[in-house]
Symmetry: D2
Amino acid sequence: MTTFTSIAARLEGQAIELPSWAFGNSGTRFKVFTTPGTPRSAEEKIADAATVNRLTGLAPTVALHIPWDQVDDFAALGRFANDHGVSLGTVNSNTFQDNDYKFGSLTHTDPVIRQKAIDHHFACIDIMNQTGSRDLKIWLADGTNYPGQGDMRGRQDRLSDSLQQIYARLSDEQRLVLEYKFFEPAFYHTDVPDWGTSYAQVSALGDKAMVCLDTGHHAPGTNIEFIVMQLLRLGKLGSFDFNSRFYADDDLIVGAADPFQLFRILVEVVRGGGYGPGSPVAFMLDQCHNIEDKIPGQIRSVLNVQEMTARALLVDTEALTVAQEAGDVLGANGILMDAFYTDVRADLGAWREERGLPADPMAAYAASGYQQKIAEDRAGGTQLSWGA
Amino acid sequence: MTTFTSIAARLEGQAIELPSWAFGNSGTRFKVFTTPGTPRSAEEKIADAATVNRLTGLAPTVALHIPWDQVDDFAALGRFANDHGVSLGTVNSNTFQDNDYKFGSLTHTDPVIRQKAIDHHFACIDIMNQTGSRDLKIWLADGTNYPGQGDMRGRQDRLSDSLQQIYARLSDEQRLVLEYKFFEPAFYHTDVPDWGTSYAQVSALGDKAMVCLDTGHHAPGTNIEFIVMQLLRLGKLGSFDFNSRFYADDDLIVGAADPFQLFRILVEVVRGGGYGPGSPVAFMLDQCHNIEDKIPGQIRSVLNVQEMTARALLVDTEALTVAQEAGDVLGANGILMDAFYTDVRADLGAWREERGLPADPMAAYAASGYQQKIAEDRAGGTQLSWGA
Amino acid sequence: MTTFTSIAARLEGQAIELPSWAFGNSGTRFKVFTTPGTPRSAEEKIADAATVNRLTGLAPTVALHIPWDQVDDFAALGRFANDHGVSLGTVNSNTFQDNDYKFGSLTHTDPVIRQKAIDHHFACIDIMNQTGSRDLKIWLADGTNYPGQGDMRGRQDRLSDSLQQIYARLSDEQRLVLEYKFFEPAFYHTDVPDWGTSYAQVSALGDKAMVCLDTGHHAPGTNIEFIVMQLLRLGKLGSFDFNSRFYADDDLIVGAADPFQLFRILVEVVRGGGYGPGSPVAFMLDQCHNIEDKIPGQIRSVLNVQEMTARALLVDTEALTVAQEAGDVLGANGILMDAFYTDVRADLGAWREERGLPADPMAAYAASGYQQKIAEDRAGGTQLSWGA
Amino acid sequence: MTTFTSIAARLEGQAIELPSWAFGNSGTRFKVFTTPGTPRSAEEKIADAATVNRLTGLAPTVALHIPWDQVDDFAALGRFANDHGVSLGTVNSNTFQDNDYKFGSLTHTDPVIRQKAIDHHFACIDIMNQTGSRDLKIWLADGTNYPGQGDMRGRQDRLSDSLQQIYARLSDEQRLVLEYKFFEPAFYHTDVPDWGTSYAQVSALGDKAMVCLDTGHHAPGTNIEFIVMQLLRLGKLGSFDFNSRFYADDDLIVGAADPFQLFRILVEVVRGGGYGPGSPVAFMLDQCHNIEDKIPGQIRSVLNVQEMTARALLVDTEALTVAQEAGDVLGANGILMDAFYTDVRADLGAWREERGLPADPMAAYAASGYQQKIAEDRAGGTQLSWGA
């Protein structure tokens, strides 16, 4: 049996990137509820993200979304982040909120609109050059709602061409990660609907192009850890967008809907070399706190990833291999479940305290008065949300 | 073989209610695209709906949504509708767009908020009394996003009590129809998630309470026509919200995603007495024309229902019974498919012309200049959408 | 925080019925793998079930399946069971393995075949009278594979009539539990596909008719604990068939696929009065150990139910109610998760030892030599499976 | 508008391979129903397949399954087929019905068992050399039922190695097609679960390795025509296994569950160059006629493919492109639906008669007396099924 002590060192340095947009308002097509204290600027989002990092030590970087986080001076924004103990991370492009993109962006039949979408990515790379970000993440909302509406084949070819142009702009230290999604906002076909499509597209680009796996972007019943295994095996898993779901792309807190699935995913990450120093896999959150408080929502999320990583590291891999090779179905499964059912929370609390962090970051946040302070301080102005 | 001639008379009087909100802007949580000519008032929505009816003869009533269609004088709005050849129909309540309802409405633990939601329904019944509407339709967005967030049992009991109070306000000619929905906007549990729950709740109310079946509100793979059969058998199918889906509650044009499913549904409607004079079942659309033109979107929709009704009526039910009782699997299925594969479009075009309607309402609308006219006339003002 | 000590007493008397057929061979349509030691008679199945009970104290009864467990003298079989420390439980009927039932049984259009199916249930009740069984469980494989093949409405009406005849034969102490299933072996429609149908049918019968919920018989994404809550609320939850699934009716070990779902189900069972003395809800397993060893598979299963019941009992319901009513989403969810993440295994081991049971029944079974013994003793004869 | 006349010539030469096993008994894990006249030998299966071809002109080849169709002299079997107007086609391997393969075949950890599975494929290639078959089709049942049971990564690597060895044995004229399947008979993970995995594996092999797409092997909601498009674009679509499904791998008659989906698939096949002379894509059926008559079941199936191919060819692609590029959502969808709703059955009947085929092959079969004849002639002997 593997002990917590033996894996404690491997928890050092775990980093989970926070999305700036998690701190703004989000909702469903039916309603976006607002909350006192919601940020009104990129700086306020970063301050909130830095609070999560201060209490957990798990979230040293913040992902930006352009144009939601567009500022005049990204170098200054980077310094602001550094002053708060974090730095700027992945840059996310957005080609789904302009009327021009109603029928597509990087896949559009109209060369003018397609060029506009490509240019937007060039602009994102310019920002990356200022922020020192490594990754350009592309989630494409392109797709169609009705059979016949678009020529799926032509769209795929144009996508390939557009990505090639964008890829050519990357520096040697930069990467392009292409996210796939089963459906939404398009309801008949999505231009990058599955890992196979993302894999085929990034493979055609080159070594600096990787796949981004969002845990909420699969068909019902999909074995996600298998895809994790496969992409790691193929050398193409670039990053995770963590969240959880019961139905569709619910964007709930990671681990909330199916903690055992998160465990299995992390077991494959560890198994396949996707965890630890030198791994090419970036861990990020991508969630919507529609009804729960945003900052504690993010704290809960990174803690969930950390707790489940600890459990994944606890798997007795030697005993597991023996049982697997012996065809001992119940024994092998039992070894996995032993790790999953181990309650690591007290050990992790002590581990945090040893590192000058609060044992219980959720309680520490509640006691900190931060939420009350921002609710008071951030009166007036326009709360940010996806639309801004 | 049943002929079109023999069923032509049964197509008379088919009525499909249009939702006023189909003419306003709608979208996804990512973006609401706007279109020139979108209505800025309840009257403009009704004018658009009346246009659909004028070209198809299929849509004599318009459903209202409160507060989206709130006006000072509903009697005047009714006269406006009549002047345009239509009348006002079902009244839909809305308890999902007020901050108070973040954690529930008719199920809320707070008696003040729950009373507010009940009062809203009383106000809807008042409007029904002015408009002469028969049906109060309740679609409840209530639910929770996280396990443990709410006490599902207590919520169900409070729902029951709230519905009882609302039901008690109905006149003898009025009905309450309770819609169920698998998920969204709630992502863990929904308080009326399935037909069984709606059936249990309305059965406890009385004869004037019925179930509303929205064709997009089921789990993947659900045999919807079975539910249609069962609710008709139990005497509790009150109305349909027609639309279609590939994934979730996509709200696409009815018949667009799976025309054969629509056919099977209508076969069961006819089989179970849900079609024709005296049937208690109201046909309505509930769709979102996110990217397609709204008025032709509605025209296409009612035509789809009409065409598929014709095919359903074409089923040779006598031959079918013989094959079914003989255990002739391929024969029975073949009789059903014969009707489905029959191209009724030319016959329906002629049928329309006999009745002074355009043979091809889609072409007639395109040729009418209406779209250009509203795009010009409706400059300025605020386009209506779900939020307003 | 609730402690194990405070709930230990509530674990007393938990009983999970084992299905006799779990000890026979089972498989998929592609292959039934065999294992040394598989029973060749009803007696050997009961001996295996008794072994599970001896090591766990959790499985005092064995469900029979007729005709798989048909014997000449059921009273003698009952005495055999008693001699092994268990007794006979629920009687399961079978109307899916006779050529006559190809197109239906209790729903068949042919009155002769339908009567044969009814008579089979009469025979089952006769057996119950001999065994002293309380429950007659009906899982109906009836359905169709192709649209049009059957008249779903007529089938439902005949089902109702058949059930009424069967119900009339029950004594005052006996019950009829009607199981529903989403699909399989029928692939277009199933005559009892959902809880709503089962509920409507048993409600029409009377107080002694209840619903059986098999945890693997739902559409993808279904919130099963909601159904548990609803059936308990309606007073119609008669029994559980426990197992787990990733895809369809996989019949895996309960808790193996989604332990958190099992936890949520048990939380609702406890919440709704479905657990403990006086509860009308019978716990049963219904699983297929296609590739794993059968006896330890059953041991693992009852332990999983016990462990998760302990976690469910650990929920701090008072604190939960406070958080729920305060709209504290993360707090309420956190209280639930606290119980789920608590590692109850060591406490349960001690609890077992106090009661003269092995702390680790899986290890005790492995050490017992029982498996080797039956593998040797049960040479020759015909191993039993679903088909026999 | 495209007319039938203009596409008639393109229907010439359409060929849909029949699986020999479709004529044997099949069923579910619950029951295999038998039918009079079921073949007792490979020759009788071929005779039945030849009957389908004689009446439809659509099924000139028969796929074999080894060992189900193992004979001493494959050359003689080929001559037998030729004498009946058909020839032998794809050879299907089977590594799922031997006890050795309980925990895997081409992926097994035990080198002895893995070699046995590889050798079986060598034997299949030997048969192909005798029958002149082009394609070796591998559907792999390998997978696990419980998390932890197997090391998914190691299994994938061993699969890769095994396939390489098999691939190396192919002649220049032969191909390997690798089928993927979402789940079943494994219920936790499948070693080739999706098109991406099959694509990655066959891409690593070389030009003679292709993907086989079985239309029933996807997650709920999957847009299958997108995968068709993508595989054609990537040059890796080798063959289809046609069937249809409502739930899982139901193996119903192609086009029976969702005819519009079959239409969309065929539209993409035509669009991407997968249809007609020179196309590398092989059309095959893979279905289970559990309750319907087998020979007419196969006739119905090839007719469904032919009818839907005709509709797919009827799409006015020029007009469609214009509408697509104009962003005319309803117009483009309408052009597609025009073709789908066109009733091609009378035209196809005439087309058949011109070619000396019966206008209505289903009726011709019923009138032929073949079914009665085989029911009488094939008395005695052992009916073949999947197991033999």
